[in-house]
Every structure is written in C-alpha cells, then in structure tokens.
C-alpha cells in the first residue's frame, strides 16, 4: 500500500545550500530525501538503494559523472524510474540529445518550489497522496 510509505527521492546537487533547500521542500511534501553532492556519490547511493527509490532529481553540471551520465546509468538499470534533470543553462540540453535516454522532466534554474512540487506529484503514483501547496 503506497499511502503507507513515503516516497524516496534521490537528489544530486553540488550546491550545498540548494541541496538543503530541495531537501526541505521535498520533506514538506512528505518525501524521504537521499542527498548527494556529486554524481559519483549519487550513483553509489542509487546502487545501494535503487530498489526503493521512487524519483531521481539531478543537476547536470556536477563534479564526477555529470547528470546526463548519471541518468543514463540509472535508466539502464531501471528505465521506468523517473529522472529529472536540473540545468542552469539551456545549451546543456544538447548533451541529452546525444544521450541514450531522455529525462522525464527538465527543471531550469531558477525555479520555484511550487513548480518542483507540481512536477514531483505528476511523476509519482497518485497513491502517495502528497499534500497541496
């Protein structure tokens, strides 16, 4: 029963303040957040918790593997798992055009938390019954 458990969201973002804000925002939605400050840490967290993760949100430009490489690795393992890519600049989308998989959503910085909440709710099964903001 999905309503009985909280959605688990893996976030990869190398800006500590921003990572913390995403965590706080997603916790307001009732999510459990796994935080990674670079692509390699995010991939390690995914390998350890892949079966339980419901959504991945990743910045594109990060130390270690970038967000597109991370998305490709995750989609290779679990093509149905929603992955959002966050970018500060539209030209980075060209990286995705050359990649094997596409993200389920793009978030262009700066975006407001309500936009993030709306995208998260769209991506997760309705059974999670997330609160409205």
């Amino acid at each position: 029963m999905l309503g009985a458990r909280k959605p688990i969201v893996l976030i990869a973002e190398d800006e500590p303040d921003l990572l913390d804000l995403y965590r706080q925002g997603l916790e307001m939605l009732g999510a459990v957040v796994l935080k990674a400050e670079d692509g390699d840490s995010a991939w390690s967290l995914f390998q350890q918790n892949g079966d339980t993760i419901d959504l991945v949100i990743s910045d594109i430009f990060m130390p270690g593997i970038n967000g597109v490489q991370l998305m490709n690795r995750i989609k290779e393992k679990n093509p149905g798992l929603p992955v959002f890519l966050v970018t500060g600049y539209a030209h980075l989308r060209t990286l995705v055009e050359e990649s094997a998989y596409e993200p389920d959503a793009y978030l262009e910085k700066p975006f407001n938390l309500r936009d993030l909440f709306r995208r998260v709710k769209q991506a997760l099964p309705p059974e999670f019954d997330l609160p409205e903001y």
Partner: protein, 176 residues
C-alpha cells in the same frame, strides 16, 4: 655630236669617265638606300616584337593585379569573419558565465523565499538560516557581476561543451 662636215664625233673620254663615276655613285647610293631600308625594317620588326612583349607583360600585370585584389578581398573577409567569431565567442562566454554563476545563487534565493512563504510558522532559528542563505547567494551574485566587469582579466575555462569565464582565477581590482 657632229662636226661641220656632219660626221659624228666620239664623246670626250673625260665625259665618259664622269658618267661612269656618276653611275658608280648612283649604284652605291642605291645599295646604301637598300641597306638603310633593311635596317629600318629590322628596327621596325624589333619594335613590333618589343611592343608585343610589353602587351603580354601588361596582360600578366593586370592578371596579377586582379589576383592581388581578390586575395586582399579574401583577407578582409576572413579577418572580418575572425573578428565576428571572436566577438560571438566572447559574448557566448559571458552569457554562459552569467547563466552558470548567477543561476545557482538565484535558485537559492528563489527557493529560500518560497520556503519562507510556504511555511509561515517556521521557527525563528530556521528563518534566520534561510535569510543567511539568501544573503550568501546575493553576495555571490554581486561578486560575479564585479568580476565580469573586469573582463580583461578573465580567461576562459572549459564548461562541459562550452567555454565560460574563469572567475576563480580572476584578479579583480576593486575601485576604491
């Protein structure tokens, strides 16, 4: 010539000699004239040849001139293209730098303000933390703008598949 008796007289030998002399002179003059005519013709031919050579050289010079003008035009065009490309790259670097360096702090400011608006009952300590984040992010934006103003001190660095300005290595001279 005839004498009184009507008998023809022989011309005096002196006269004959003069005539012979005149004939020789005339022959010599004719030969001299023929020599002069041949010389004139040779000179004329030489002038004609020189004239043809000069015309050929003129044509070659005109061709060279045309080639040089084309080369000069190509040089101007490629120089303009190089300058245009350099300007576009410089503008591109600034745009990418702004997008990368400013969007992150701006995202922090936006998200922090959202969080403050969406949670009016946030504890004071947490509110102070959010304001501190906003202040740090605003300072970063200010710093980026100050550094970009000192554009001549900035070098590009690779940013995934683009170049952006290396603000970390910038030597910024703040105006006092």
């Amino acid at each position: 010539m005839s004498n009184r008796a009507g008998k023809a007289q022989e011309p005096p030998s002196q006269l004959l000699s003069q005539i012979e002399q005149l004939k020789r002179e005339l022959r010599e003059m004719r030969e001299e004239l023929e020599d002069t005519t041949r010389g004139t013709l040779a000179l004329y031919n030489e002038i004609e040849n020189k004239n043809a050579e000069l015309k050929q050289q003129q044509l070659q010079l005109e061709e060279k001139n045309t080639e040089l003008q084309k080369a000069l035009e190509n040089l101007r065009t490629s120089e303009e293209a190089r300058l245009r490309a350099a300007r576009t790259a410089a503008i591109g670097n600034i745009v990418v730098t702004y997008n990368h360096e400013i969007n992150n702090p701006l995202a922090i400011i936006t998200a922090s303000l959202d969080l403050l608006k969406l949670t009016p009952d946030l504890p004071d300590e947490e509110r102070r933390k959010q304001f501190a984040k906003i202040e740090r992010a605003a300072d970063r934006v200010k710093d980026v703008i100050t550094k970009i103003k000192q554009y001549e001190n900035l070098l590009p660095k690779s940013y995934i598949n683009w170049d952006m300005l290396d603000l970390e290595s910038a030597k910024v001279h703040y105006k006092k």
